[in-house]
Amino acid sequence: MFDIIFWVLAAVAVGAALAVVLLRDIFRAALSLVLLFLTVAGIYVTLYADFLAVVQVLIYVGAISILIIVAIMLTREVWHGNPPGRLRIPALIVCLLLAVTLIFTVMSTQWLVSGESPKTPTTMAIGEGLFGRGGFLLPVEITAVLLLAAVLGAIVLIREK
């Protein structure tokens, strides 16, 4: 059962990723990227990471895709689409080398498997780790500063003119 779900998700993910690169219409490429994010969320579910799957849908499918689509809407002369560049062949070679390296690493590594069953639901445990005593207090507050920097940067950007 898990194998079937995994292979279906993997096939859709690889197909969507190829569509992102190969499609001429840049808006369709962005929508394929959304499909890719969704399949990654599905793989998280099969790994018992329920909170991570929901966050993947909320942030990547919800927010990042909006950011990308708005960026496309702001682009001048967007109907030219995704023209092929001069670096097609070098990029293909580099990507193939990267893919071979990654596949080789994944296949040759001895992956350690814990005998313990996964913790579910994970949301409470994550909340305890982030906001409980002895949790990740400082990283949480630093994340707030990072988000503040993003908001301030956006304000400065639009007040440029």
Partner: protein, 139 residues
């Protein structure tokens, strides 16, 4: 559905989680099947000659009763929209942090509340700054 929950995922581990997500999977399958069958239905009916194929230029035009569009569909939008997209991402990430705290509100107690108040206060600096700079007004 309860029977499905009992028999569908008996591989081991916390099955109820996968069963709950399994409902989403079933919904997804039904949605895809519905879309595909709705698209195939007119083609099948046309194959049996039930749907007539009498096409003319007016019938296949994009706006059969309406004005013809002028210019290209792709126009460049005002760059100010990007500000709202970035704000949306920032506050979406805020939600991700608020949710695990809200689920275990009582268990985390005053300590968790203090952490989240500081977190929220830091982000509100950006909101107040935007307010006073007039970034939220449309010019």
């Amino acid at each position: 559905m309860l029977y499905l929950r009992a028999t569908f995922f008996v591989i081991g581990g916390p099955d109820y989680l996968l069963a709950d997500f399994g409902y989403i999977g079933i919904l997804l399958i039904i949605a895809v099947l519905f879309t595909v069958s709705t698209l195939l239905l007119p083609l099948t009916l046309a194959l049996f000659g039930i749907v007539p194929k009498k096409s003319n230029p007016t019938k296949v035009s994009t706006y059969e009763c309406g004005m013809e569009t002028i210019g290209k569909t792709w126009v460049q939008f005002n760059f100010r929209y990007y500000f709202f997209a970035i704000l949306f991402v920032a506050f979406d990430v805020l939600t991700v942090f608020l949710y695990p705290w809200a689920v275990n509100l009582k268990g985390l107690g005053v300590y968790g509340l203090a952490v989240i108040v500081v977190f929220f206060a830091i982000l509100m600096v950006g909101y107040v700054y935007a307010w006073f700079k007039g970034a939220l007004e449309w010019k």
